[in-house]
């Protein structure tokens, strides 16, 4: 079945001369004075930009900066309570998209322009086979008949490099991994060869190695079809690798736009400079702290130093590195506290989860989470554990903190054997070991005042109410929050402030060990730098032994002295962090290092830029 809808435009989209003609005339998408407001509040101030055919444009900004609203406005997917003014014109289309009816927009969506969302988990229909979902996009727009659509779905799945595309087409979304689902989303978005592809944080939920593959796929697909790309992300390094032009959004305003090189080497706006400084985990100021928006003035662009990154891994010249500074303090504490025996010792730790039986007669599945892990962490060290999702790092943390029991093996924290310890011993151990959780929105009880949240660990220790109040006030000050924060509720704080509260709760009973489970992965770049600096400060002030779990090698490299790399429930490699980073022995570690996007790497690589491949 051929399409009744502008067949001429479609046919020339892939072919040479016609396309160049249309780009010469008008940009693919022209956004003019787009303003979005909710009630009386303006969420997006008048914004104008254009995207040409085949152009790759990045849109960066923090959560709440208005970048997602912009993309939703283009797709006509704004929530109803928001009003948009201005104009959005699609080349060859009929006027302002903002004034078109839902049915007119529906004809464009998925055909002329399509979108890849952040969460591949929730963007696919769980009850439909993925092949049918890809085919549906073509059937809705009548670009292919039922049989042809099914065939083409398999081809598309093949083109996004799903192994065994025919089998994948028959699979349900839950049978695929996160990266595979995002490939399916991409196949759906590309099914009708749209002229504009909008990607809203498409790789944020993915592991770094998978992220690298998906980014490469997006780049190739856009290149092949000469599709315009609007790529939304908060990750500067990702944008630098994918896009040729970058727009920076801040508090509902487009503060800067230019080519990638311009933005990343010579940022004009103060906020862009701050963002660049804060996202560079290899640059530190004189105190060995990361740059924040506030201290960005001293920062020298990482891209300038890009050329010598390989020879001098990590630290920007002239800045005292955090490692030696930390080393000095740590050395003192380590020897005075416990000279020989490591503070935490894990030997042959095995954890197997038993899935609940799926049928009455079936055997319960056993899922190995940890397969014989051994590690030892001396007192005063900052120990990083790196691994992708499913590597068992969170399970290890839970067992370390006595929240879960090992299947076999020994875990010793201080002088407590966690596996065999009685409740009283475990309680004593937990007073020494506190946790900072990943999600600052989920880890604070929404119905408790901050003072009660922070004081909670003190209650079982029998600390009197007055003493509790003074310790809460102390620790609030230590994490940089106002004293009157104590009487407020968690929803009144931003993500970074909540994570400070979470850290305050962990430190209020003065533990010797602080365990942090991805404490910055839910935070914006600029806030991330602040929280990491805070952790660095507090680890020194409180003489803590830090166990820091993360999927982000860059963060671990900055913060930790030692690192263990986990994969599939095993430790594949461990040692001093710089050694692992610069000279990885295990191929997986090497992959992980290579896949982590960094600005410096992008610009050092500029000669062999994947974007310039034919």
């Amino acid at each position: 079945m051929s399409t009744p809808h502008t067949p001429a435009a479609r046919d020339t989209a892939n072919g040479g001369p016609a396309t160049t003609d249309s780009t010469a005339d008008a940009p693919l998408v022209a956004v003019e004075d787009l303003t979005i407001s909710a009630g009386g509040r303006t969420l997006l101030h008048p914004t104008s930009f254009a995207i040409g055919a085949g152009e790759r444009v990045g849109l960066i900004g923090e959560s709440g900066s208005g970048k997602s609203l912009t993309s939703q406005a283009i797709m006509g997917l704004l929530p109803q309570e928001l009003t948009a003014r201005g104009s959005i014109a699609l080349a060859g289309g009929s006027g302002n998209l903002l004034q078109q009816s839902e049915s007119q927009l529906a004809r464009l969506r998925g055909r002329e322009m399509s979108m890849v969302f952040q969460e591949p988990m929730s963007a696919l229909n769980p009850l439909m086979r993925v092949g049918d979902q890809v085919a549906e996009v073509m059937r809705i727009h009548r670009t292919a008949g039922a049989a042809r659509a099914r065939e083409r779905a398999v081809e598309l799945l093949d083109s996004v490099r799903l192994p065994d595309p025919a089998a994948a087409a028959r699979a349900f979304p839950h049978q695929l991994s996160g990266g595979q689902r995002q490939r399916v989303m991409l196949a759906m978005a590309l099914a009708n060869s749209p002229r504009l592809l909008i990607c809203d944080e498409p790789t944020t939920a993915l592991d770094v190695t998978v992220q690298a593959q998906v980014l490469e796929l997006i780049g190739e697909a856009v290149e092949r079809e000469n599709t315009g790309l609007l790529f939304i992300t908060h990750d500067l390094a990702v944008v630098a690798g994918v896009c040729e032009r970058v727009m920076v959004m801040y508090r509902g305003e487009l503060v800067e736009s230019g080519t990638s090189e311009q933005i990343f080497t010579d940022p004009q706006h103060e906020y862009t400079r701050g963002l660049l400084a804060a996202s560079d985990l290899t640059a530190t100021d004189a105190r060995g702290r990361l740059f924040t928006i506030a201290t960005a003035a001293q920062y020298h662009s990482g891209a300038e130093a890009g050329s010598d990154t390989d020879s001098d891994p990590g630290r920007t010249t002239g800045a005292a590195t955090s490692t030696p500074a930390g080393e000095a303090t740590r050395g003192g504490v380590g020897t005075s506290a416990d000279p020989d025996a490591p503070l935490i010792e894990v030997t042959d730790l095995v954890k197997t989860y038993r899935r609940t039986k799926s049928s009455l007669f079936g055997r319960a599945d056993e899922v190995p989470a940890l397969g014989g892990i051994s590690l030892s962490i001396p007192a005063g060290r900052r120990f990083g554990i790196v691994g992708e999702s499913g590597s068992g790092k969170s399970t290890l943390l839970k067992i370390l903190s006595g929240l879960d029991t090992p299947t076999s093996g020994r875990v010793r924290v201080g002088d407590v054997e966690v596996g065999s310890a009685g409740e009283a011993e475990l309680r004593r151990m937990r007073e020494d070991l506190q946790i900072v959780f990943q999600d600052p929105f989920a880890s604070l009880d929404p119905r408790m005042r901050v003072a009660d949240i922070i004081a909670e660990p003190l209650v079982p220790m029998g600390v009197a109410a007055g003493e509790r109040r003074s310790r809460v006030a102390d620790v609030l000050q230590a994490v940089g929050l106002d004293a009157d924060s104590a009487q407020r509720y968690p929803h009144q704080f931003s993500g970074g402030q909540r994570q400070r509260i979470s850290i305050a709760r962990a430190l209020v009973c003065r533990p010797r060990i602080l365990v942090a489970d991805e404490p910055v992965s839910a935070l914006d770049v600029s806030v991330r730098a602040q929280v990491l600096n805070l952790l660095t400060d507090l680890v020194e002030e409180y003489a803590l032994t830090l166990v820091f779990v993360s999927h982000d090698l860059g963060v671990v490299r900055h913060l930790c002295s030692d690192v263990a790399v986990m994969r599939g429930g095993e430790i594949v490699e461990s040692g001093p962090v710089e050694e692992i980073y610069t000279d990885p022995q295990h191929p997986y570690t090497a992959d992980l290092v290579a896949a982590t996007p960094t600005l410096a790497a992008v610009f050092a690589d500029a000669g062999s830029d994947p974007r310039e491949r034919p």
Partner: protein, 348 residues
């Protein structure tokens, strides 16, 4: 009964808060002072980017200005139509019951043979029954019994059902949880009216046995709601944090689980209340509930049967008020649920 299911007003923190904590901060001389030196960049950072996050869609809970009164504005959002109508209808019933203690147009027990079976008149707004007793007075007195039965039976169900549900939810997949929930299923299989009839057969008909029977019959609903809510709360990171902070199970149940499931329980309470009102009317109609001299809407319906042809008002008004009470509590429950469920709230 149950804590008010909304955020306490954060705009009005105790004024003494700052005064109380500030001296403590300076006086509490910790052995290792965690107080950083004066020109620490952290304090400025915090007022920098941390607070710059603006709500992307206007309803983001991550509202940024901790000093501003943003929260109370959000709380006012929830006044939907169900809630307003529910509150008004329930208010009518409650008001009548309260006023009946101070004033009624007539004495409910006084028979006035001359005024028998009157229609709606200026003297008797809702008419009179076969003994000449004022129907409006009886409706007012009847609302007392209605509310009493509702309150007592819901209280019984809540006090037994919620703890059972929390225990089942916290010992999820354990033997205890299995026992509780299977017992719950057994009880659920018993219709409330059947249980009430059994009770009145054993203990004799009356308001007391009816209330207890209705209360017992509503336990399963509360236990289920409490259990599912508890399981949700138990899987959150803040409970994990509480466990890591050495809180024992009873403390976690009281400090974390109960406040966070209170909203769901209140909604269930409102619905159970409506059912109890209806069941009490039914039982009294059958002669198994409230007994003779005490005015009750169900019994008024029953007594009006023989005069349906001549004086339909006698059945109309008790029926109307039963409907008002049931509808009111149901709408109240619906409205509260919509208001408290953020997922539903977004759709309005």
């Amino acid at each position: 009964m149950t804590p008010e299911p909304q955020h306490p007003d954060p705009a009005a923190p105790e004024p003494s808060a700052a005064a109380r904590t500030a001296p403590a901060a300076t006086a509490g001389s910790a052995p290792r002072s965690p107080i950083p030196n004066g020109n620490d960049p952290r304090s400025t950072d915090q007022h920098g980017a941390d607070q710059h996050r603006t709500a992307p869609d206007g309803t983001d809970p991550d509202s940024t200005d901790p000093t501003g009164p943003a929260a109370p504005a959000r709380q006012r959002v929830g006044w939907n139509a169900s809630l307003v109508i529910g509150v008004v209808l329930v208010g009518i019933v409650v008001l009548m019951a309260l006023v009946s203690y101070l004033w009624t147009p007539y004495d409910p027990t006084q028979a006035v043979p001359d005024d028998r079976l009157q229609g709606m008149t200026g003297d008797h707004w809702f008419g009179t029954d076969r003994y000449g007793r004022d129907t409006f007075t009886w409706i007012m007195y009847g609302s007392r019994i209605t509310l009493l039965v509702g309150i007592v039976s819901v209280a019984i169900a809540m006090l037994i059902g919620v703890p059972l549900g929390i225990i089942a939810g916290m010992t999820n997949s354990g033997i205890l949880s299995g026992l509780i929930m299977r017992g719950n299923d057994l009880l659920l299989a018993f219709p409330a009216l059947l249980l009430a009839i059994v009770f009145s057969a054993v203990y004799g008909p009356g308001t007391g046995p009816a209330m207890v029977a209705l209360g017992i019959a509503s336990i399963p609903g509360f236990a289920r709601v409490a259990r599912s809510g508890t399981m949700q709360v138990m899987s959150t990171e803040y409970v994990m944090a509480a466990r890591a902070a050495n809180r024992r199970a009873p403390a976690i149940a009281a400090r974390h689980v109960l406040p966070n499931i209170a909203g769901m329980v209140v909604v269930q309470g409102s619905v159970a209340f409506a059912l109890a009102v209806l069941a009490e009317a039914g039982l009294s109609f059958l002669g198994l509930g409230t007994q003779a001299p005490t005015p009750s809407w169900g019994r008024m319906l029953q007594e009006s049967q023989q005069f349906l042809g001549t004086r339909p008002e006698l059945a109309l008004f008790p029926g109307l008020f039963i409907a008002i009470a049931v509808l009111g509590f149901n709408l109240l429950g619906d409205g509260l649920r919509d208001r408290m469920d953020p997922k539903l709230r977004g759709r309005e």
